[in-house]
Structure formats: structure tokens, C-alpha cells
Amino acid sequence: MSDIAKDRVDANDAEETEQQPRRAVKTTEIEEGDPWNTIEAAFLKRRSIRRFKKKQVPAHMIRRILEIGRFAPSQGNCQPWKYVVVRDRETITEMENFCADMCRKISGALDYTAYKKGTFARWRSETFLKLFAKWRPSNMHPVPFGAVNLIANDRFKVFHHPPTIIIPLMDTRGIGHPEIDLGIVGTNIVMAAHSLGLGTCWVGLASFLNDSAEWRERLGVEEPYQLIEAISVGYVLGKPMQNTVARETHETLWIEDGEKNLIY
């Protein structure tokens, strides 16, 4: 056996995967105005869930969701990910507290809305924020700024206190843009969970854990892996997915028959 083959963990030693029956996929004719099919409707009705039941999700369901993630497309089939699944209430609470502490530190230095206009303190933190925004513009968008303030004021939990957190770790050696591959895996996971009736929420603020040596060790994040996002998974509380929502239309440049048109 070669060195490369030895490194692989054989997960399917005993289980033999069943042969799926071969079936040709039929492309059905779709007319304009036809109702949404099941999969389209699932995409339209998915919402990020921020209220979970306390009940734990069975392990086999999480395994099933990860299995769907395994078949996500990736650049050059490089599959630059591995997972961490956290199902301990205590660990989840500690993770939440750690991220909330980080939010408090950031909010304390950068939250200018806490001071009256025209005061020195206000001018100081406004200037500080503008400098910070030059360094990391995407992190200083006003919307996450609001979320960080809510978390700092204990009005909001970072991971929304779910029973299970799935963290896809990114292999930084991935081909091209491994972040995109990670996003595709995440989408597969989220949609698989949604199809099983579970609620999910992407948590970008989880990346604070990546900057802490203690948490990197506790979650097994080692070079060349990086923690970028986490996905909270759990049973949905209430019925937050009754209606579809309104979203902005986006400009599309339509190039056809030598003509260029803008459509929305």
C-alpha cells in the first residue's frame, strides 16, 4: 500500500453501499408561469432559523446531512474541507460566551452610537471605526456592526443556542478559491437539513474562534485548516417558514443575438 492510500481513513469497512437503480433524468417541459416544483419551493421557503428547540437532533440525521455535503461540487474535485460537529451543550455555551466577549471588546472600542454627537469620545470612536474600515472594509459594514452591538448588549446570542453546530473547516491549500467550495458545501448542508425539516443558520461571527489559540486546539483546527463559518442546526421553534419573502431584484446583463439588454 502506498503512503497516500494509508492516510485515508476507511469509514466504510463493514457497510456496503447499496447500488442505486440507474434512471435517466427526464427534462420536463416548463412553461412560463408553471408553479414552483418541490425543490424550487424548498429554496424559496428556507429561512435562517434563530430560535431552536432544546431537543437534540439524532446523530444519524446529522450524519445524513454531512453525507449530502460530501457530494458538493468543488474546484478540480479538490474537496477542501473537513467537519467539526459540536453537540455538547456546555461547549456550545462556552463558544457563545467567547464570541460574545470578543463582540463586547470590539463594540466597546468602535460603538460610537453610545456617545452623544459632538463629544470627544464620539469623535474618537468614529475616527477609530473609519480607520478600522480601511483595514477590513467587509467586517465594518453597518449591518454586522448592528449585530455585534446586539450581541454585546446580550440581546442576541452568537450561535442562537442550537443543539448542534456543524463547522466546515477550510483547507487553505484548495484549488482556486477554496472559500467558494466551502460555501457550496454549506449550501448543500443547509438545504439537506431544510429538507429534513431542520432549521439552520450560518454564523459568520464564529470566525472569532479561528483567532484564538485555545479554541483552535479545542476544535482541532490545525494548519492548513481554517475556521471561517459555522452552521447552527436544530429543530425549528414555531412556524417561521410559512410565507415566502420579498427580496430585491438584481441587475442582469442579458447578451443574446448580438444585443445587450439590462433586465431586472
Binding site: T113, G146, A147, M241, E248
Partner: protein
């Protein structure tokens, strides 16, 4: 030609300045709203609150700085179709929304 000038790219909007930041606004149908509180629970930005007498509560946006991100989750959970997004968020300078149309429900005809 870039869509944002260099001067605009350098400008960072101030959140509590109405000239710089426009946050989401929800329209509430007071006839349909029965004060069931679901939207205040689901709101990720904590901007909705109940008001009014005990047996006739209605929902409204909190006074002061409301950071509604126009996610429309309140509409998604409402059983009585009483709340929906009226205005989406937008900023000046670096974080200005570009090339967007109005917020609408999923379309089947174009």
C-alpha cells in the same frame, strides 16, 4: 467607469445619521395584526415591539435607532399577513447598494 467614485469609496457611512444610513421599514396592517408577538420573537435585529392596551396589542418598530436589515422574516412567520417590508436598507459611500430593483416576492411571470 467605475460605479462608485474614489471619493465615495472612501466614505464610511455613519449608522445613526439619517443622511448616511437608511435602514429597513416594515408596513403593518393594523386591521390584520392581532398582537400574537411572533414577529417580535423572530426578528433578528430586535427592532419590533408590542404596544397598546392589554387585549388589543399591535406591533410597531421601536423608537430610536432601528437597524432593520429588511430580511422579511416577520412576513414569513405572520399567519395573518399583517406585516411586510416597505423599504430595504441602503447606505451612502462605500456600502451603497448598486444595481438593485425593488423588493418583490418570487415571480413566475416576468
Amino acid at each position: 467607469m467605475a460605479l462608485l467614485s474614489k471619493k465615495e469609496m472612501k466614505r464610511i457611512p455613519i449608522v445613526d445619521d439619517a443622511n448616511d444610513s437608511q435602514f429597513g421599514v416594515v408596513a403593518i396592517d393594523l386591521e390584520n395584526c392581532n398582537g400574537c408577538k411572533m414577529c417580535t420573537i423572530i426578528c433578528p435585529c430586535d427592532v419590533l415591539e408590542l404596544y397598546g392596551p392589554r387585549h388589543d396589542k399591535k406591533v410597531r418598530i421601536k423608537e430610536g435607532l432601528s437597524m432593520c436589515l429588511s430580511c422579511d422574516n416577520c412576513h414569513a412567520i405572520c399567519e395573518y399577513d399583517a406585516i411586510s417590508i416597505e423599504q430595504t436598507y441602503n447606505f451612502v459611500g462605500r456600502y451603497k447598494q448598486l444595481n438593485r430593483g425593488a423588493a418583490i416576492q418570487p415571480r413566475l411571470k416576468y
